[in-house]
């Protein structure tokens, strides 16, 4: 697989949220608005790229039996970095994302890429894979957040677009499931065509 494919596969073909169904908890939990979705996506991308890099660097040193705990520790260290930096410089976003920042540790997407890709490939491809998948994740979260914000609050990124009676349910938890269900169906349609 060439690097271009490696970079772009995360958007539609192997989109982590819409196709692989990984990392659904943050995808549903934080996407009450497009900006929250984007913030979460970028935080996850950073963790994903850095953990892929470190795993690819030291993969030959990790004994096979303890590889999963080692990967989790590597990921947890980068999550702590994100947590502290965000708390210091972006307190608003930190409050909005709340519990889901420390929970990046247990995002199956990050561990999944470390195990399925970075532990088997060289540093360059692992970096590209982490960045591509992270961007796909950010794209999915921003899209889901945008749809929910538009239908529930009539705005995208805080800019008002719709007036009148809105479907408040889309900002609330039930709407998250329903919006994601339809987006998965649409992605399936694209991938078959």
């Amino acid at each position: 697989m060439n690097q271009i494919q490696n970079l772009t596969k995360g958007f539609i073909k192997e989109n982590p949220v819409f196709v692989l169904l990984l990392g659904l908890c943050p995808a549903l939990g934080v996407t009450t608005s497009a900006i929250n979705g984007l913030g979460m996506g970028l935080a996850t991308t950073f963790v994903l790229v850095m953990s892929n890099l470190v795993v690819a660097l030291i993969k030959s040193m990790i004994p096979d039996k303890v590889r999963i705990p080692s990967f989790i520790l590597i990921i947890a260290s980068f999550v702590t970095i994100v947590e502290l930096v965000m708390q210091a410089y972006m307190p608003g976003l930190f409050d909005a994302l709340g519990l889901f920042i420390p929970l990046i540790v247990v995002n199956c997407l990050v561990l999944g890429r470390a195990e399925a890709f970075a532990s088997k490939n060289n540093i360059g491809s692992s970096l590209v894979d982490g960045f591509g998948m992270g961007m796909g994740f950010s794209f999915a979260l921003t899209l889901l957040g945008g749809v929910r914000e538009l239908l529930g609050a009539g705005a995208i990124f805080g800019f008002n677009l719709l007036e009148g009676d809105l479907m408040l349910a889309f900002i609330l938890p039930p709407g998250a499931f329903i919006a994601l269900g339809y987006l998965v169906a649409i992605t399936n349609k694209f991938n078959k065509a």
Partner: protein, 190 residues
Amino acid sequence: MEYFVIIIGSIFVSNIVLAQFLGICPFVGVSSKVSTSVGMGGAVLFVMTLATMVTWVLQYYVLNPFGLGFMQTIVFILVVASLVQMVEIILKKVSPSLYSALGVFLPLITTNCAVLGVAILTIQKDFSLLEGVVYAVANAIGFTLAIVLFAGIREHLDLMEVPKGMKGVPIALVVAGILALSFFGFTGLV
């Protein structure tokens, strides 16, 4: 009374899966049959209660006195991961029947964010140890309730005529949305 509020609040009003979005991966992944989802619920109950107890003790007797609060995420995930391993080994020796019932679900629980989430929430909400345990048990029951209900609906869904594009996961997610909507009726109960 406080405990009663915690129990009703975590099972119905802010259900861990349908209102707080924790543990969605097993909720979608292991919910095609009622029997397997009951097993998953049992395993979560076991690990969640133990993990909350251990992390509470660590937070108040190790992390706080030594000013290591920033290590919370790393320490907690290590506790959860090693606890899952330990439970697996002990169950295998002590109760092979329980192990064969829960065994397949145990490794999946390490990356179940509900377990880590409840451990962190217990600290954030300033619960005492007993309140924390009650909170963990109630949340595990809430998780089991949601996943078993969902599995029951999905078993029926397999026999329904669903539009082609919506088959499988999409319709399941829409159903989960409607389930969440029905749980919304409990808002304001406590």
